[in-house]
């Protein structure tokens, strides 16, 4: 069934298929006329059977037969015996169609339809399936149908598991069988069936089992896929966890203040805001739904009603997101108050897989609002930012400064139960790591290296839940470097993973993070002088991550990397200054996450590849504004601005128009010619500087 080369048809075959087509056309014409006239006589029904025997893909014919059966069943003279015989006839037609092509969706579907009428013998179905699954053990239609039949006849999962195991023993290169095993095990674990009470007892046996397949034939992918499922089962905790927040627990936040004049506040927690509110950000370990003012409550001196509108930060517009944000308004220009946020004390936060958030946690912080003259604020954010090397000075931390990452573990979400429960997970991972190290000592195996890299990262993340130390990151980076050389076809994927690990490593400790913290100082600016710029430039990053540790960043330099996407950047709600110059961003739609960054004022996307390619490939990765339901559309006036020659760039205007920028650098992109730029100036009224030139 598999691995058979396709042969060129012989002349006589072609003649035969032409004759078949002729016959088929005649049948079809006749059939359509019966169907059209709703004729359900014996003759007409038999004709459809003949048609389906030759061409099981004829959906219309299957539907016609359904209508014919319904028609017959509605007749007054119809008794139970004849119902059964009519339905049995249907099963026979399906069977002969399946003999012709047993991957016919229509035929399998029709069979399900007949079976769900409940008049047919199910035992016969199992026998038939045995036959089909013997002929082609991987046919997923048959496996799907098997699950349907097993459910219909209430066959126990244990019996099906045994059957699946036998199929695996016959030939373990069987994705369908492994998949069925994962489905059955999930069901048994969920039911807490006898012998399947605890994951920690079931999974080690499964690891043992899959190792037999992987070690016997590491080149066979089916085993690795099952292994990946097991790894996922081991690593993912069922209930979602809150992994980081902004402001962090116990922090002092200075808002709108003139930071450089007040030495007692850390530049890490000084925020410039011109909107009379500040964001509260919740970062979970997996996408969740149901974050709202009843599941997350706040208590503070200045907002008595405690109502907050929580917004999911996801570009896909779904109701589930890993990051949620709410904006807390402060009523007076000057304020000193403490805020307490309580997450998950009432039920309602649910992971996309349906698990409740069950680690209620509380964090509190102090807010100090200082008044700054509106005018001077306006000026200060409008000041030109030059992403020049000499403008950055490495930041020297003052003695006991609280860097947000240092306070991650202050989140009260760890408790005794969770840590004992994950012992078996750590053990399982340690065993797996040992096992695959051994395999790799024997042979060079790409997927083995990839699995080891994943295992090591999972192990690090698990043994240090709030990652203050990543013991294996060097080894993992080395593995990805190897993989890039070994398997150039998937270079981009490995590069992305490499970048993510690198970022996790850099953000994993205070010391390593501080090496990337700089103070921006140029000859003229004053207000932002005490702010920290996180510089992750020149690291050849192709992807960015570790956002949970970067929520505090307001000024970020990602220039001189190899970024093609900035997916996930929407989590960094505090960003006001963003440097993305000299990367590989290929289209304006790649900037989609920026639309969620309401405080962004200064953006550098110079020297990228926007406009290089006529086809925007990111469109398939993240949804384009054209397919958006939200987001403003260009109004008539705006359309008028856009030159006919720029019609191809409509998307770019949609995207950039919504960004509230004061300063934009776009030079060095194919798209950025003079006509484009002059249209851009008109469509972005807030813009004060474009490519370094002050606008009128």
């Amino acid at each position: 069934m598999h691995g058979r080369p396709r042969k060129a048809p012989k002349p006589e075959d072609e003649a035969a298929s032409a004759a078949k087509a002729q016959k088929l056309r005649a049948l079809q014409t006749q059939f359509f006329s019966f169907h059209h006239d709703q004729i359900y006589t014996k003759e007409a029904v038999e004709l459809s059977a003949k048609l389906l025997e030759i061409n099981p893909e004829s959906y219309t014919a299957w539907n016609y037969r359904k209508l014919a059966v319904e028609h017959y069943l509605s007749q007054p003279e119809c008794d139970p015996d004849s119902v059964k015989s009519v339905l049995d006839d249907e099963l026979k037609v399906v069977e002969s169609a399946l003999r012709q092509n047993f991957k016919s969706y229509g035929a399998w579907h029709h069979r399900k339809w007949v079976l769900s009428k409940g008049h047919s013998s199910i035992n016969h179905e199992l026998r038939l399936l045995d036959k089909f699954q013997k002929a082609d053990s991987r046919n997923f239609h048959a496996w799907n149908y098997r699950r349907f039949v097993a459910e219909l006849m209430n066959r126990s999962e244990q019996d099906e598991l045994k059957y699946t195991e036998d199929m695996i023993y016959t030939n373990f290169s069987n994705y369908s069988a492994w998949h069925n095993r994962s489905v059955l095990l999930s069901a048994l674990l969920e039911k807490k069936a006898e012998g399947f009470l605890l994951k920690e007892n079931v999974l080690p046996e499964e690891y043992e089992f899959i190792h037999q397949a992987i070690f016997t034939d590491p080149d066979d992918q089916s085993g690795w896929f099952y292994n990946l499922w097991l790894l996922d089962q081991t690593v993912t905790t069922d209930s979602p966890l809150l992994v980081s927040t902004w402001p962090t627990c116990g922090s002092d936040v200075l808002i709108m203040g003139d930071g450089c004049q007040n030495g007692s506040f850390s530049p890490f927690t000084t925020l410039l805001s011109d909107s009379g509110s500040f964001p509260i950000i919740l970062y979970f370990n997996q996408p969740v739904e149901g974050v709202n003012s009843s599941t997350v409550t706040i208590e503070c001196g200045f907002d008595k009603n405690g109502y907050l509108h929580w917004e999911p930060l996801s570009v896909s517009n779904s109701q589930a997101a890993q990051v949620w944000v709410a904006h807390l308004k402060f009523p007076t220009p000057e304020l000193d108050s403490s805020v307490e946020v309580r997450v998950g004390h009432s039920k309602g936060i649910i992971s996309t897989r349906g698990f409740q958030y069950c680690h209620p946690s509380t964090f509190s912080f102090n807010v100090h609002v200082q008044h700054v003259e509106r005018d001077s604020f306006q000026v200060s954010v409008a000041e030109s930012i030059l992403w020049r090397e000499e403008n950055f000075k490495i930041y020297r931390a003052q003695s006991e400064e609280s860097i947000p990452i240092a306070s991650f573990d202050q989140l009260c979400i760890k408790n005794g139960h969770e840590s004992t429960a994950s012992n078996w997970r750590t053990e399982a991972l340690a065993k797996e790591i040992e096992c695959f190290r051994e395999l790799l000592s024997l042979m060079d195996c790409k997927i083995g290296k990839l699995t080891l890299a994943r295992l090591l990262m999972a192990y690090d993340a698990m043994s240090f839940p709030f990652a203050t130390k990543l013991v294996h990151s060097e080894e993992v980076l080395e593995l990805y470097n190897d993989l890039m050389k070994l398997d150039p076809t998937h270079h981009r994927y490995y590069k992305d993973e490499h970048s993510l690990v690198l970022l996790q490593k850099m953000t994993s400790s205070k010391e390593s993070l501080l090496q990337h913290c700089f103070q921006y100082k140029d000859s003229v600016s004053s207000v932002i002088g005490n702010l920290i710029c996180l510089r992750l430039n020149n690291l050849s990053l192709s992807r960015i991550g570790a956002f949970e540790k970067l929520l505090w960043v307001q000024m970020l330099d990602l220039s001189h990397n190899e970024l093609q996407s900035i997916e996930g950047l929407e989590a960094m709600q505090l960003l006001s200054w963003l440097g993305l110059g000299n990367n590989k961003l290929g289209s304006v739609t790649a900037l989609e996450p920026l639309r969620k960054l309401k405080s962004l004022r200064v953006l550098d996307i110079s020297y990228n590849q926007i406009g290089d390619h006529s086809i925007d490939t990111t469109r398939y990765l993240c949804s384009s504004p054209l397919s958006h339901s939200v987001g403003s559309e260009l109004n008539k006036d705006e359309t008028a601005i856009i030159d006919a020659a720029l019609v191809n760039y409509l998307e770019a205007f949609y995207m950039l128009k919504d960004l509230n920028l004061n300063q934009l650098d776009i030079v060095g992109n194919t798209i950025a010619d003079e006509t484009f730029k002059s249209a851009l100036v008109k469509i972005m009224p807030t813009l004060k500087r474009l490519d370094g030139k002050v606008l009128d």
Partner: protein
């Protein structure tokens, strides 16, 4: 044989070829010659097909063996003298079996069922699904006359009676419980190397230097652990001699040959849909194979006469060239060519001088194989050696049973579902190459003692055993009836109890072409491929112009089409 029923005289009296003996090589040659439109007369002194390759009822086996273990009684008075043109040469039999030891522990039980047995004289034997024999059976249409069943598994045995599963395929390696993960990986990598090499993949090509080196050196070079090495050498490549002891090894396997064997094994697994393993066994026993070729020959016009001893050869007085044979019925039949069963010895009747060209060649009998002899054993039990499994092969690699064991011993258990024995019984065939009778006995006994409970009966002479066991027969029977109902629960060690055994030593001979041709005796291999090669070689020698079973498109018009490229397999 004393009272040969009167036969009508054979007509015609002249043939292209006369073949005496219906063993496998003779039957193949008869079928091939008939297919090449030769007129063939195929004779056998026995009342059954197969000669030394036959499958016989229990009672007939001892007599067959003993007939061929002694020199015949002095030649009977000649029926007639040679004519003016011919000299007459005596055709007598020569001893091929020695040290025959039949032990009967349960006479009643077996007597009742004697006809239900089909015991292979040349066991243990099996087919690889992809070997030459199966190809030949398919090409010649002999598959129409045979049915096969798959042998369930291969095991490697040790001196404690354990049977270790041989991980001989990807699925078997995956399933195996005794191999470690690393061993699984190494073994599968080695299999892949062989597959890649056979498929001609450039990057996995095994170098010529390696191919010419001993296989065992190559396995060492690949870093395979001893256990896996032993599996590959003896249970998959089926090496006969200890490959790691050059002192005793008379047949050092080269890497090339080892790889070929592995490739054959690999191609055999999964070749036929109903066959789970690499090996097949014919229903009703190995004797069916010779018979199938005889039938094939008969379809092409070969004339068969069984129970027809041939007493003399007729040779040209002057040239010494073969002319014909004189049958026990007294009739003289002439032919161009003659093929003789290895049983026969050609001598000059006393007091006569041979034609000059034959002087140096007489007496004529087929040459001994320098591999010496083969010890064979047949055991009958009521319980399987392995519960829940009927038909399987067990290999005891050299030195696995005792330190001096220089050759591997193979054991094939066949159950009643292959129609070789009554329901509920099992036949065990054992064989090993040996230098002499004592060594052979020691090898066979080593296996029997490891696996079976041998009732304490002295088997000095058959008569004594039979009479001694006559009284205790009932008891034995009861015990076995009990044990068969409660599964393998022999009191004591739980080993199956021996009901009957036949141990014998067989001479190995080679095929030969001289003024007459002679075929080889059954060899020491598990399958028939070497014998088929020998038959082809003989055929080519006598008929260099003719093709050996030419491929024809529609050999059997009545054939239903899909039987052509498949053997009939019972599931």
């Amino acid at each position: 044989m004393e009272d040969i029923p009167p036969y009508p005289p054979i007509d015609p009296t002249t043939f292209d070829l006369i073949v005496i003996g219906t063993g496998l090589p003779e039957s193949i040659i008869a079928a091939a010659a008939s297919t090449a439109s030769k007129s063939v007369l195929h004779l056998d002194p026995n009342p059954f097909y197969g000669s030394h390759f036959s499958s016989l009822p229990l009672a007939d086996l001892p007599s067959f063996l003993s007939t061929h273990s002694t020199s015949p009684s002095p030649p009977r008075p000649r029926s007639s003298e040679g004519s003016n043109e011919f000299s007459v040469l005596d055709l007598s039999t020569r001893p091929l079996y020695s040290s025959i030891d039949i032990s009967v522990f349960s006479p009643d039980l077996l007597d009742q069922n004697s006809r239900k047995f089909n015991l292979d004289v040349a066991g243990p034997r099996a087919f690889f699904c992809a070997d030459k024999s199966i190809e030949l059976i398919l090409n010649t249409g002999a598959n129409q006359y045979m049915e096969f069943k798959s042998i369930d598994a291969t095991f490697v045995g040790d001196n404690k009676g354990n049977l270790l599963n041989v991980p001989d395929s990807r699925a078997a390696i995956f399933k195996d419980k005794s191999l470690g993960l690393m061993e699984k990986n190494q073994l599968m990598m080695f299999f892949k190397l062989v597959q890649g090499h056979m498929a001609g993949e450039q990057d996995v090509k095994i170098s010529d230097e390696d191919l010419q080196s001993p296989f065992v050196d190559f396995l060492n070079k690949m870093g395979l652990p001893p256990k896996i090495k032993s599996f590959i050498l003896y249970a998959i490549a089926m090496a006969d001699y200890d490959q790691e002891d050059t002192g005793v090894c008379r047949d050092l396997l080269k890497t090339k040959d080892g790889i070929d064997q592995l490739a054959l094994y690999n191609a055999s697994i999964g070749r036929f849909q109903n066959a789970s393993g690499a090996l097949l066994y014919p229903i009703y026993g190995q004797g069916e194979l010779s018979q199938a070729f005889c039938r094939r020959a008969a379809v092409k016009g070969c004339i068969y006469v069984l129970r027809m001893p041939v007493t003399e050869l007729l040779v040209d007085k002057d040239s010494g060239c073969y002319k014909g044979v004189r049958l026990a019925s007294g009739q003289d039949i002439f032919s161009q060519k003659l093929i003789l069963d290895p049983t026969f010895k050609v001598t000059l009747p006393s007091g006569l001088s041979p034609p000059p060209p034959l002087q140096a060649k007489l007496p004529f009998f087929s040459q001994k194989d320098d591999r010496g002899r083969i010890a064979r054993g047949i055991c009958i039990t009521m319980t399987s050696l392995k519960p829940d499994m009927s038909n399987f092969l067990v290999v005891y690699p050299p030195r696995s049973l005792f330190p001096e064991q220089a050759t591997s011993i193979r054991l094939l258990q066949i159950a009643s579902n292959l129609a070789v024995c009554p329901l509920g019984m099992f036949v065990l065939y054992i064989s090993a190459l040996c230098n002499d009778d004592d060594q052979g006995k020691k090898l066979i006994h080593a296996v029997m003692n490891t696996l079976l409970t041998v009732p304490p009966i002295n088997s000095e002479s058959n008569a004594a055993v039979q009479s001694e066991t006559a009284e205790s027969g009932c008891a034995v029977q009861d015990e076995n009836a009990e044990s068969s109902s409660t599964g393998p629960s022999d009191p004591g060690e739980g080993k199956p109890t021996l009901l009957w055994s036949a141990l014998y030593n067989q001479e190995l001979t080679l095929g030969q072409v001289d003024f007459i041709c002679s075929t080889p005796m059954p060899d020491g291999k598990l399958n028939h491929d070497d014998l088929i090669d020998a038959a082809i070689k003989l055929f080519k020698k006598i008929y260099p112009e003719d093709e050996f079973f030419p491929q024809t498109s529609s050999e059997n018009p009545e054939d239903d089409g899909d039987g052509d490229d498949d053997v009939s397999l019972e599931t």
